[in-house]
Protein backbone atom coordinates (compact mmCIF):
# COMPACT_ATOMS: atom_id res chain seq x y z
CA UNK A 1 0.00 0.00 0.00
CA UNK A 2 2.94 2.34 0.54
CA UNK A 3 3.44 3.08 -3.16
CA UNK A 4 -0.21 4.06 -3.38
CA UNK A 5 0.29 6.69 -0.70
CA UNK A 6 3.37 7.98 -2.49
CA UNK A 7 1.35 8.47 -5.66
CA UNK A 8 -1.55 10.04 -3.77
CA UNK A 9 0.76 12.49 -2.04
CA UNK A 10 2.44 13.63 -5.22
CA UNK A 11 -0.79 13.90 -7.14
CA UNK A 12 -2.59 15.76 -4.38
CA UNK A 13 0.28 18.21 -3.99
CA UNK A 14 0.42 18.83 -7.70
CA UNK A 15 -3.20 20.01 -7.65
CA UNK A 16 -2.13 22.74 -5.30
CA UNK A 17 1.20 23.43 -7.00
CA UNK A 18 -0.66 24.91 -9.94
CA UNK A 19 -3.56 27.35 -9.94
CA UNK A 20 -5.93 24.51 -10.93
CA UNK A 21 -6.96 23.60 -7.40
CA UNK A 22 -7.59 27.15 -6.31
CA UNK A 23 -9.58 28.09 -9.39
CA UNK A 24 -11.67 24.95 -9.22
CA UNK A 25 -12.37 25.47 -5.52
CA UNK A 26 -13.26 29.14 -5.89
CA UNK A 27 -15.54 28.62 -8.89
CA UNK A 28 -17.21 25.64 -7.25
CA UNK A 29 -17.82 27.51 -4.01
CA UNK A 30 -19.16 30.59 -5.76
CA UNK A 31 -21.52 28.60 -7.96
CA UNK A 32 -22.82 26.37 -5.20
CA UNK A 33 -23.09 29.39 -2.92
CA UNK A 34 -25.22 31.28 -5.43
CA UNK A 35 -27.56 28.34 -5.85
CA UNK A 36 -27.77 27.77 -2.13
CA UNK A 37 -28.68 31.40 -1.62
CA UNK A 38 -31.34 31.29 -4.33
CA UNK A 39 -32.99 28.18 -2.91
CA UNK A 40 -32.90 29.63 0.57
CA UNK A 41 -34.33 32.94 -0.62
CA UNK A 42 -37.23 31.33 -2.43
CA UNK A 43 -37.88 29.17 0.63
CA UNK A 44 -38.04 32.19 2.87
CA UNK A 45 -40.30 34.02 0.43
CA UNK A 46 -42.66 31.11 0.12
CA UNK A 47 -43.05 31.10 3.88
CA UNK A 48 -44.86 34.41 3.61
CA UNK A 49 -46.60 33.74 0.32
CA UNK A 50 -50.35 33.21 0.83
CA UNK A 51 -50.42 30.88 -2.17
CA UNK A 52 -48.38 28.36 -0.17
CA UNK A 53 -50.75 28.65 2.78
CA UNK A 54 -52.03 25.09 2.46
CA UNK A 55 -48.47 23.78 2.09
CA UNK A 56 -47.11 25.50 5.14
CA UNK A 57 -47.14 22.35 7.18
CA UNK A 58 -44.93 20.63 4.66
CA UNK A 59 -42.51 23.47 4.05
CA UNK A 60 -39.21 22.47 5.53
CA UNK A 61 -35.55 23.26 4.93
CA UNK A 62 -34.66 19.72 3.90
CA UNK A 63 -37.11 19.40 1.04
CA UNK A 64 -37.00 22.96 -0.20
CA UNK A 65 -33.37 23.97 0.27
CA UNK A 66 -31.06 21.07 0.87
CA UNK A 67 -32.47 18.55 -1.59
CA UNK A 68 -32.54 20.93 -4.57
CA UNK A 69 -29.13 22.17 -3.48
CA UNK A 70 -27.70 18.64 -3.67
CA UNK A 71 -29.31 18.21 -7.08
CA UNK A 72 -27.69 21.38 -8.36
CA UNK A 73 -24.32 20.50 -6.89
CA UNK A 74 -24.44 17.17 -8.71
CA UNK A 75 -24.84 19.07 -12.00
CA UNK A 76 -21.97 21.40 -11.17
CA UNK A 77 -19.86 18.33 -10.41
CA UNK A 78 -20.82 16.78 -13.73
CA UNK A 79 -19.31 19.84 -15.39
CA UNK A 80 -16.27 20.26 -13.15
CA UNK A 81 -14.99 16.79 -12.34
CA UNK A 82 -13.93 15.97 -15.92
CA UNK A 83 -11.71 19.05 -15.64
CA UNK A 84 -10.15 17.75 -12.44
CA UNK A 85 -9.52 14.27 -13.80
CA UNK A 86 -8.50 15.06 -17.37
CA UNK A 87 -4.85 15.47 -16.53
CA UNK A 88 -4.43 12.41 -14.35
CA UNK A 89 -2.82 10.08 -16.88
CA UNK A 90 -2.87 12.16 -20.06
CA UNK A 91 -0.40 14.61 -18.56
CA UNK A 92 1.97 11.84 -17.48
CA UNK A 93 2.11 10.76 -21.09
CA UNK A 94 2.63 14.25 -22.41
CA UNK A 95 5.49 14.89 -19.96
CA UNK A 96 7.06 11.47 -20.55
CA UNK A 97 6.75 10.79 -16.82
CA UNK A 98 4.65 7.76 -17.73
CA UNK A 99 7.97 6.15 -18.61
CA UNK A 100 9.20 6.76 -15.08
CA UNK A 101 6.08 5.30 -13.50
CA UNK A 102 5.97 2.22 -15.70
CA UNK A 103 9.67 1.44 -15.33
CA UNK A 104 9.54 1.75 -11.55
CA UNK A 105 8.91 -1.25 -9.36
CA UNK A 106 5.23 -0.35 -9.11
CA UNK A 107 2.20 -2.33 -10.08
CA UNK A 108 -0.34 -0.71 -12.36
CA UNK A 109 -2.96 -1.13 -9.66
CA UNK A 110 -0.84 1.13 -7.41
CA UNK A 111 -0.86 3.83 -10.04
CA UNK A 112 -4.58 3.52 -10.75
CA UNK A 113 -5.57 3.53 -7.08
CA UNK A 114 -3.17 6.33 -6.22
CA UNK A 115 -4.51 8.57 -8.95
CA UNK A 116 -8.11 7.77 -8.10
CA UNK A 117 -7.72 8.33 -4.38
CA UNK A 118 -5.80 11.58 -4.91
CA UNK A 119 -8.62 13.01 -7.00
CA UNK A 120 -11.14 11.67 -4.53
CA UNK A 121 -9.33 13.44 -1.69
CA UNK A 122 -9.34 16.68 -3.62
CA UNK A 123 -13.01 16.22 -4.31
CA UNK A 124 -13.47 15.59 -0.57
CA UNK A 125 -11.87 18.96 0.10
CA UNK A 126 -14.34 20.58 -2.31
CA UNK A 127 -17.28 18.96 -0.54
CA UNK A 128 -16.06 19.84 2.93
CA UNK A 129 -15.56 23.47 1.99
CA UNK A 130 -18.99 23.64 0.38
CA UNK A 131 -20.52 22.23 3.55
CA UNK A 132 -20.02 25.62 5.14
CA UNK A 133 -23.40 26.74 3.75
CA UNK A 134 -25.12 23.81 5.38
CA UNK A 135 -23.29 24.44 8.64
CA UNK A 136 -24.58 28.02 8.59
CA UNK A 137 -28.06 26.65 7.95
CA UNK A 138 -27.72 24.27 10.88
CA UNK A 139 -26.66 27.15 13.10
CA UNK A 140 -29.59 29.40 12.25
CA UNK A 141 -32.26 26.95 11.17
CA UNK A 142 -33.46 23.54 12.12
CA UNK A 143 -32.97 21.19 9.17
CA UNK A 144 -32.98 17.48 9.85
CA UNK A 145 -29.29 16.59 9.88
CA UNK A 146 -29.74 12.92 8.96
CA UNK A 147 -30.65 13.53 5.31
CA UNK A 148 -27.89 16.15 5.12
CA UNK A 149 -25.28 13.57 6.06
CA UNK A 150 -26.65 10.85 3.81
CA UNK A 151 -26.94 13.43 1.04
CA UNK A 152 -23.26 14.20 1.40
CA UNK A 153 -22.47 10.50 1.34
CA UNK A 154 -24.48 10.25 -1.87
CA UNK A 155 -22.64 13.19 -3.41
CA UNK A 156 -19.31 11.68 -2.39
CA UNK A 157 -20.17 8.36 -4.06
CA UNK A 158 -21.50 10.15 -7.12
CA UNK A 159 -18.28 12.17 -7.36
CA UNK A 160 -16.32 8.95 -6.96
CA UNK A 161 -18.09 7.57 -10.03
CA UNK A 162 -17.37 10.73 -11.99
CA UNK A 163 -13.70 10.48 -11.03
CA UNK A 164 -13.45 6.81 -11.95
CA UNK A 165 -14.96 7.55 -15.37
CA UNK A 166 -12.69 10.59 -15.77
CA UNK A 167 -9.63 8.55 -14.87
CA UNK A 168 -10.55 5.99 -17.50
CA UNK A 169 -11.02 8.73 -20.11
CA UNK A 170 -7.64 10.15 -19.17
CA UNK A 171 -5.97 6.79 -19.64
CA UNK A 172 -7.12 6.68 -23.27
CA UNK A 173 -5.21 9.66 -24.59
CA UNK A 174 -2.34 12.04 -24.05
CA UNK A 175 -4.50 15.03 -24.89
CA UNK A 176 -6.25 16.56 -21.88
CA UNK A 177 -9.02 18.19 -23.91
CA UNK A 178 -9.91 14.88 -25.54
CA UNK A 179 -9.86 13.27 -22.12
CA UNK A 180 -12.25 15.86 -20.69
CA UNK A 181 -14.62 15.59 -23.65
CA UNK A 182 -14.71 11.79 -23.46
CA UNK A 183 -15.44 11.72 -19.74
CA UNK A 184 -18.04 14.45 -20.06
CA UNK A 185 -19.67 12.50 -22.89
CA UNK A 186 -19.75 9.23 -20.96
CA UNK A 187 -21.12 10.91 -17.83
CA UNK A 188 -23.81 12.76 -19.72
CA UNK A 189 -24.94 9.57 -21.42
CA UNK A 190 -25.14 7.85 -18.03
CA UNK A 191 -27.05 10.84 -16.75
CA UNK A 192 -29.75 11.11 -19.41
CA UNK A 193 -30.12 7.42 -20.15
CA UNK A 194 -32.82 7.18 -17.50
CA UNK A 195 -34.87 9.87 -19.20
CA UNK A 196 -35.39 7.64 -22.22
CA UNK A 197 -37.68 5.50 -20.13
CA UNK A 198 -40.01 7.22 -17.73
CA UNK A 199 -40.00 4.39 -15.24
CA UNK A 200 -37.33 4.59 -12.58
CA UNK A 201 -37.64 0.88 -11.95
CA UNK A 202 -36.67 -0.09 -15.50
CA UNK A 203 -33.18 -1.24 -16.39
CA UNK A 204 -32.33 2.05 -18.07
CA UNK A 205 -33.65 3.83 -15.05
CA UNK A 206 -31.35 1.78 -12.86
CA UNK A 207 -28.35 2.49 -15.07
CA UNK A 208 -28.98 6.22 -14.91
CA UNK A 209 -26.40 7.72 -12.63
CA UNK A 210 -28.58 10.44 -11.17
CA UNK A 211 -31.60 8.38 -10.15
CA UNK A 212 -29.54 6.93 -7.32
CA UNK A 213 -28.79 10.23 -5.65
CA UNK A 214 -32.42 10.90 -4.83
CA UNK A 215 -32.74 8.34 -2.04
CA UNK A 216 -29.60 9.63 -0.36
CA UNK A 217 -30.93 13.18 -0.25
CA UNK A 218 -34.16 11.88 1.28
CA UNK A 219 -32.12 10.35 4.05
CA UNK A 220 -32.42 6.79 2.82
CA UNK A 221 -29.36 4.64 2.24
CA UNK A 222 -30.49 1.85 -0.02
CA UNK A 223 -28.24 -1.08 -0.76
CA UNK A 224 -29.00 -0.99 -4.48
CA UNK A 225 -27.82 2.62 -4.70
CA UNK A 226 -24.60 1.98 -2.81
CA UNK A 227 -23.95 -1.13 -4.88
CA UNK A 228 -24.62 0.82 -8.06
CA UNK A 229 -22.12 3.56 -7.23
CA UNK A 230 -19.44 1.20 -5.92
CA UNK A 231 -19.73 -1.07 -8.94
CA UNK A 232 -19.48 1.90 -11.30
CA UNK A 233 -16.33 3.03 -9.50
CA UNK A 234 -14.93 -0.48 -9.64
CA UNK A 235 -15.75 -0.76 -13.33
CA UNK A 236 -14.09 2.57 -14.12
CA UNK A 237 -10.92 1.58 -12.29
CA UNK A 238 -10.92 -1.85 -13.91
CA UNK A 239 -11.20 -0.35 -17.39
CA UNK A 240 -8.37 2.06 -16.58
CA UNK A 241 -6.22 -0.83 -15.43
CA UNK A 242 -6.99 -2.83 -18.57
CA UNK A 243 -6.24 0.16 -20.80
CA UNK A 244 -2.88 0.85 -19.18
CA UNK A 245 -1.94 -2.81 -19.18
CA UNK A 246 -2.91 -3.44 -22.79
CA UNK A 247 -1.48 -0.29 -24.29
CA UNK A 248 2.04 -1.47 -23.69
CA UNK A 249 1.38 -4.71 -25.50
CA UNK A 250 0.34 -3.01 -28.68
Amino acid sequence: MKPVFTIIRREFKSYFASPIAYIVLVVFLILSGIFFFLYLQSFVESQFDPRFEFLRERLNLNDFVIRPYFGTVSIILLLMIPLITMRLIAEERKNFTAELLFTSPLRIIHIVLGKFLASLSFFGVMLILSAIYVVVLEAYGNPDSGPVLTGYLGLFLLGGCFIAVGLFASSLTENQIISAVISFGILLIFWIIGASSGDEGSILGYISIINHLDNFTKGVIELKDVVYYLSLIFFGLLLTHVTLESERWR
Binding site: R10, N95, L100, F102, W249
Partner: protein, 310 residues
Protein backbone atom coordinates in the same frame (compact mmCIF):
# COMPACT_ATOMS: atom_id res chain seq x y z
CA UNK B 1 24.60 -8.75 -16.06
CA UNK B 2 22.24 -8.07 -18.94
CA UNK B 3 21.32 -10.77 -21.40
CA UNK B 4 19.25 -9.88 -24.41
CA UNK B 5 18.15 -12.83 -26.47
CA UNK B 6 16.46 -12.91 -29.85
CA UNK B 7 14.60 -9.74 -29.14
CA UNK B 8 12.02 -8.78 -31.75
CA UNK B 9 9.52 -5.96 -31.65
CA UNK B 10 6.91 -5.31 -34.28
CA UNK B 11 4.52 -2.39 -34.40
CA UNK B 12 1.89 -3.76 -36.73
CA UNK B 13 3.82 -4.52 -39.88
CA UNK B 14 6.78 -2.39 -38.99
CA UNK B 15 9.66 -4.36 -37.55
CA UNK B 16 11.43 -2.06 -35.12
CA UNK B 17 14.04 -4.56 -33.96
CA UNK B 18 14.69 -7.93 -35.45
CA UNK B 19 16.24 -10.80 -33.54
CA UNK B 20 18.64 -8.73 -31.49
CA UNK B 21 20.91 -10.56 -29.04
CA UNK B 22 23.77 -9.30 -26.94
CA UNK B 23 25.20 -9.50 -23.46
CA UNK B 24 26.64 -6.91 -21.18
CA UNK B 25 28.98 -7.98 -18.42
CA UNK B 26 29.26 -6.51 -14.96
CA UNK B 27 31.03 -3.16 -14.96
CA UNK B 28 30.98 -2.72 -18.71
CA UNK B 29 29.83 0.43 -20.44
CA UNK B 30 28.11 -0.65 -23.60
CA UNK B 31 27.60 1.88 -26.35
CA UNK B 32 24.49 1.17 -28.33
CA UNK B 33 25.23 2.96 -31.53
CA UNK B 34 23.04 3.50 -34.55
CA UNK B 35 21.51 6.13 -36.78
CA UNK B 36 18.16 7.65 -35.84
CA UNK B 37 15.32 5.21 -36.23
CA UNK B 38 17.54 2.14 -35.94
CA UNK B 39 15.62 0.72 -32.99
CA UNK B 40 17.74 2.04 -30.14
CA UNK B 41 14.94 3.55 -28.10
CA UNK B 42 12.75 0.49 -28.63
CA UNK B 43 15.52 -1.75 -27.30
CA UNK B 44 16.12 0.53 -24.30
CA UNK B 45 12.40 0.59 -23.52
CA UNK B 46 12.19 -3.17 -23.61
CA UNK B 47 15.22 -3.62 -21.38
CA UNK B 48 13.83 -1.15 -18.87
CA UNK B 49 10.49 -2.96 -18.83
CA UNK B 50 8.50 -0.08 -20.25
CA UNK B 51 7.10 -2.29 -22.96
CA UNK B 52 7.20 -5.98 -23.68
CA UNK B 53 8.89 -7.39 -26.79
CA UNK B 54 6.96 -9.27 -29.46
CA UNK B 55 9.44 -12.06 -29.05
CA UNK B 56 12.59 -12.85 -27.10
CA UNK B 57 13.76 -12.43 -23.53
CA UNK B 58 15.69 -9.94 -21.46
CA UNK B 59 17.39 -10.88 -18.22
CA UNK B 60 18.75 -8.27 -15.88
CA UNK B 61 20.85 -9.75 -13.13
CA UNK B 62 19.01 -12.86 -12.01
CA UNK B 63 15.57 -11.78 -13.13
CA UNK B 64 13.61 -11.92 -16.33
CA UNK B 65 12.16 -8.52 -17.14
CA UNK B 66 8.93 -10.06 -18.39
CA UNK B 67 8.39 -12.71 -15.77
CA UNK B 68 9.67 -10.89 -12.73
CA UNK B 69 9.19 -7.26 -13.68
CA UNK B 70 9.16 -5.80 -10.18
CA UNK B 71 12.40 -7.44 -9.08
CA UNK B 72 14.10 -6.70 -12.40
CA UNK B 73 13.00 -3.07 -12.37
CA UNK B 74 14.36 -2.61 -8.89
CA UNK B 75 17.89 -3.07 -10.24
CA UNK B 76 17.52 -0.76 -13.19
CA UNK B 77 17.96 2.98 -13.39
CA UNK B 78 16.49 4.26 -16.60
CA UNK B 79 16.84 7.62 -18.28
CA UNK B 80 14.44 7.81 -21.22
CA UNK B 81 15.16 9.92 -24.25
CA UNK B 82 13.07 12.71 -22.75
CA UNK B 83 13.82 13.02 -19.05
CA UNK B 84 10.64 12.14 -17.13
CA UNK B 85 10.32 15.25 -14.98
CA UNK B 86 7.41 16.87 -13.17
CA UNK B 87 7.75 20.55 -13.89
CA UNK B 88 5.72 21.59 -10.87
CA UNK B 89 8.05 19.93 -8.35
CA UNK B 90 11.32 21.06 -6.86
CA UNK B 91 14.41 19.01 -7.65
CA UNK B 92 14.56 17.68 -4.12
CA UNK B 93 10.84 16.94 -3.92
CA UNK B 94 11.02 15.12 -7.21
CA UNK B 95 13.97 12.95 -6.18
CA UNK B 96 12.20 12.21 -2.92
CA UNK B 97 9.18 10.99 -4.87
CA UNK B 98 11.35 8.88 -7.19
CA UNK B 99 13.16 7.37 -4.21
CA UNK B 100 9.80 6.44 -2.71
CA UNK B 101 8.47 4.70 -5.79
CA UNK B 102 11.80 2.92 -6.24
CA UNK B 103 11.51 1.46 -2.73
CA UNK B 104 14.42 3.29 -1.16
CA UNK B 105 13.93 2.69 2.54
CA UNK B 106 13.38 5.52 4.98
CA UNK B 107 16.73 5.49 6.72
CA UNK B 108 19.01 5.72 3.69
CA UNK B 109 16.70 7.82 1.64
CA UNK B 110 18.01 11.25 2.46
CA UNK B 111 21.63 10.18 2.17
CA UNK B 112 20.99 8.56 -1.20
CA UNK B 113 19.17 11.58 -2.53
CA UNK B 114 21.98 13.86 -1.37
CA UNK B 115 24.57 11.60 -2.95
CA UNK B 116 22.71 11.49 -6.26
CA UNK B 117 22.37 15.26 -6.28
CA UNK B 118 26.02 15.72 -5.46
CA UNK B 119 27.22 13.32 -8.14
CA UNK B 120 25.09 15.01 -10.77
CA UNK B 121 26.07 18.49 -9.62
CA UNK B 122 22.55 19.69 -8.87
CA UNK B 123 22.88 20.28 -5.14
CA UNK B 124 22.70 24.04 -5.55
CA UNK B 125 19.46 23.93 -7.56
CA UNK B 126 17.71 21.49 -5.26
CA UNK B 127 15.13 24.01 -4.08
CA UNK B 128 14.23 25.19 -7.56
CA UNK B 129 11.26 24.14 -9.62
CA UNK B 130 12.23 21.69 -12.34
CA UNK B 131 10.15 23.62 -14.86
CA UNK B 132 12.51 26.59 -14.49
CA UNK B 133 15.74 24.68 -15.05
CA UNK B 134 17.83 24.81 -18.21
CA UNK B 135 18.07 21.84 -20.53
CA UNK B 136 21.45 20.80 -19.14
CA UNK B 137 20.23 20.80 -15.57
CA UNK B 138 17.08 18.96 -16.54
CA UNK B 139 19.24 16.26 -18.09
CA UNK B 140 21.26 16.04 -14.87
CA UNK B 141 18.11 15.74 -12.79
CA UNK B 142 17.08 12.98 -15.19
CA UNK B 143 20.34 11.15 -14.50
CA UNK B 144 20.02 11.75 -10.76
CA UNK B 145 16.57 10.18 -10.98
CA UNK B 146 18.11 7.11 -12.60
CA UNK B 147 20.80 6.62 -9.95
CA UNK B 148 18.94 7.61 -6.81
CA UNK B 149 18.16 4.04 -5.79
CA UNK B 150 21.74 2.97 -6.52
CA UNK B 151 20.85 0.47 -9.26
CA UNK B 152 23.22 -2.19 -10.54
CA UNK B 153 22.27 -1.40 -14.12
CA UNK B 154 21.94 1.98 -15.77
CA UNK B 155 20.08 2.33 -19.04
CA UNK B 156 20.61 5.74 -20.61
CA UNK B 157 18.81 6.61 -23.81
CA UNK B 158 20.67 9.35 -25.67
CA UNK B 159 21.82 11.11 -22.52
CA UNK B 160 23.58 13.98 -24.28
CA UNK B 161 21.00 14.86 -26.91
CA UNK B 162 20.18 18.53 -27.17
CA UNK B 163 22.96 19.73 -24.91
CA UNK B 164 25.65 22.27 -25.74
CA UNK B 165 29.21 21.00 -26.30
CA UNK B 166 30.40 21.91 -22.81
CA UNK B 167 27.45 20.17 -21.19
CA UNK B 168 28.00 17.14 -23.42
CA UNK B 169 31.53 16.78 -22.12
CA UNK B 170 30.38 17.19 -18.52
CA UNK B 171 27.67 14.59 -18.91
CA UNK B 172 30.13 12.17 -20.48
CA UNK B 173 32.48 12.56 -17.53
CA UNK B 174 29.54 12.07 -15.23
CA UNK B 175 28.55 8.84 -16.96
CA UNK B 176 32.12 7.55 -16.79
CA UNK B 177 32.30 8.35 -13.10
CA UNK B 178 29.01 6.59 -12.48
CA UNK B 179 30.15 3.39 -14.08
CA UNK B 180 32.41 1.91 -11.40
CA UNK B 181 31.02 -1.53 -10.82
CA UNK B 182 27.70 -0.62 -12.34
CA UNK B 183 26.73 -1.89 -15.75
CA UNK B 184 25.80 0.85 -18.15
CA UNK B 185 24.02 0.73 -21.48
CA UNK B 186 24.17 3.96 -23.35
CA UNK B 187 22.45 4.58 -26.64
CA UNK B 188 23.62 7.26 -28.99
CA UNK B 189 23.91 8.20 -32.62
CA UNK B 190 27.17 10.00 -32.02
CA UNK B 191 30.31 8.02 -32.54
CA UNK B 192 32.66 10.12 -30.36
CA UNK B 193 30.39 9.42 -27.44
CA UNK B 194 31.15 5.74 -27.77
CA UNK B 195 34.88 6.18 -28.24
CA UNK B 196 35.08 8.46 -25.24
CA UNK B 197 32.94 6.67 -22.71
CA UNK B 198 32.36 3.06 -23.64
CA UNK B 199 34.26 -0.17 -23.24
CA UNK B 200 32.25 -2.05 -25.82
CA UNK B 201 30.10 -1.15 -28.76
CA UNK B 202 27.06 -2.65 -30.44
CA UNK B 203 26.15 -1.08 -33.74
CA UNK B 204 22.55 -1.45 -34.76
CA UNK B 205 20.96 -0.50 -38.04
CA UNK B 206 17.41 -0.98 -39.24
CA UNK B 207 16.66 -3.14 -36.24
CA UNK B 208 19.54 -5.55 -36.70
CA UNK B 209 22.89 -5.80 -34.99
CA UNK B 210 25.63 -5.24 -37.52
CA UNK B 211 28.66 -5.20 -35.26
CA UNK B 212 29.44 -6.12 -31.69
CA UNK B 213 32.95 -5.68 -30.45
CA UNK B 214 34.99 -4.38 -27.57
CA UNK B 215 36.35 -0.95 -28.21
CA UNK B 216 39.88 -2.17 -27.68
CA UNK B 217 39.83 -4.76 -30.45
CA UNK B 218 37.93 -2.40 -32.63
CA UNK B 219 40.50 0.33 -32.32
CA UNK B 220 43.30 -2.19 -32.74
CA UNK B 221 41.74 -3.35 -35.95
CA UNK B 222 41.40 0.19 -37.07
CA UNK B 223 44.94 1.07 -36.01
CA UNK B 224 46.19 -1.85 -38.04
CA UNK B 225 46.16 0.60 -40.87
CA UNK B 226 47.13 3.88 -39.32
CA UNK B 227 46.58 7.04 -41.26
CA UNK B 228 48.42 10.32 -41.06
CA UNK B 229 47.42 13.70 -42.28
CA UNK B 230 50.22 15.87 -43.62
CA UNK B 231 49.98 19.46 -44.76
CA UNK B 232 52.87 21.13 -46.51
CA UNK B 233 53.69 24.59 -47.73
CA UNK B 234 56.12 23.57 -50.42
CA UNK B 235 57.17 25.36 -53.54
CA UNK B 236 58.57 22.32 -55.20
CA UNK B 237 56.72 22.11 -58.50
CA UNK B 238 58.44 18.92 -59.54
CA UNK B 239 55.69 17.17 -57.57
CA UNK B 240 57.72 14.15 -56.58
CA UNK B 241 56.49 14.39 -52.95
CA UNK B 242 54.20 11.46 -53.46
CA UNK B 243 56.95 9.21 -54.72
CA UNK B 244 59.42 10.30 -52.07
CA UNK B 245 57.01 9.54 -49.25
CA UNK B 246 56.05 6.26 -50.86
CA UNK B 247 59.73 5.33 -50.88
CA UNK B 248 59.62 5.07 -47.09
CA UNK B 249 59.59 1.36 -46.27
CA UNK B 250 56.30 1.06 -44.34
CA UNK B 251 54.12 3.45 -46.34
CA UNK B 252 51.45 1.66 -48.33
CA UNK B 253 49.54 4.52 -49.87
CA UNK B 254 49.73 8.27 -50.34
CA UNK B 255 46.81 10.35 -51.50
CA UNK B 256 46.94 14.04 -52.25
CA UNK B 257 43.56 15.22 -51.10
CA UNK B 258 44.02 18.92 -51.84
CA UNK B 259 46.96 21.08 -52.87
CA UNK B 260 49.68 20.39 -50.33
CA UNK B 261 47.56 18.02 -48.24
CA UNK B 262 48.36 14.34 -48.07
CA UNK B 263 46.76 11.35 -46.43
CA UNK B 264 49.34 8.68 -45.75
CA UNK B 265 48.53 5.11 -44.91
CA UNK B 266 51.07 2.86 -43.24
CA UNK B 267 51.36 -0.87 -43.03
CA UNK B 268 50.88 -2.70 -39.75
CA UNK B 269 50.41 0.37 -37.66
CA UNK B 270 54.01 1.42 -37.97
CA UNK B 271 54.79 4.87 -36.65
CA UNK B 272 56.63 6.79 -39.35
CA UNK B 273 56.13 10.26 -38.01
CA UNK B 274 59.77 10.81 -37.09
CA UNK B 275 61.12 9.65 -40.41
CA UNK B 276 58.50 11.64 -42.21
CA UNK B 277 59.40 14.85 -40.43
CA UNK B 278 63.07 14.30 -41.15
CA UNK B 279 62.26 13.85 -44.81
CA UNK B 280 60.11 16.96 -44.91
CA UNK B 281 62.76 19.06 -43.24
CA UNK B 282 65.53 17.70 -45.45
CA UNK B 283 63.61 18.57 -48.59
CA UNK B 284 62.53 21.94 -47.27
CA UNK B 285 58.82 21.31 -47.96
CA UNK B 286 57.65 23.56 -45.16
CA UNK B 287 55.73 21.51 -42.58
CA UNK B 288 52.40 23.06 -41.63
CA UNK B 289 50.61 20.17 -40.00
CA UNK B 290 51.07 16.51 -39.17
CA UNK B 291 48.53 14.50 -37.21
CA UNK B 292 47.16 10.99 -36.98
CA UNK B 293 43.68 10.55 -38.38
CA UNK B 294 41.32 9.27 -35.70
CA UNK B 295 38.27 9.24 -37.90
CA UNK B 296 39.00 5.66 -38.69
CA UNK B 297 36.28 4.32 -36.36
CA UNK B 298 33.82 6.66 -37.94
CA UNK B 299 34.70 5.10 -41.25
CA UNK B 300 33.99 1.65 -39.86
CA UNK B 301 30.69 2.92 -38.54
CA UNK B 302 29.64 4.45 -41.82
CA UNK B 303 30.82 1.50 -43.84
CA UNK B 304 29.00 -0.97 -41.63
CA UNK B 305 25.81 1.04 -41.81
CA UNK B 306 25.87 1.86 -45.48
CA UNK B 307 26.64 -1.66 -46.66
CA UNK B 308 23.79 -2.91 -44.52
CA UNK B 309 21.49 -0.33 -46.02
CA UNK B 310 22.05 -1.43 -49.60
Amino acid sequence: MIQVQNLTKRYGNLVAIDNVSFRVGQGEILGFLGPNGAGKTTTMRIISGYMPPTDGTVRVGDFDVLEDPIKAKRQIGYLPENPPLYNDMTVQGYLDFVADIKNVSGKNKKAKIDLAMERCGITDVRKRLIGNLSKGYRQRVGIAQAIVHDPAVLVLDEPTIGLDPKQIIEIRYLIKSLAGDRTVILSTHLLPEVTMTCTRVVIINEGKIVLEESLETLSQRVNGAQMLFLKLNYNDKSNDVNEKILSLPTVSEVKESAYGEFIIQTKGGADIREELVKMVVKNGWGLLELRPLTHALEEVFLRVISTEGE
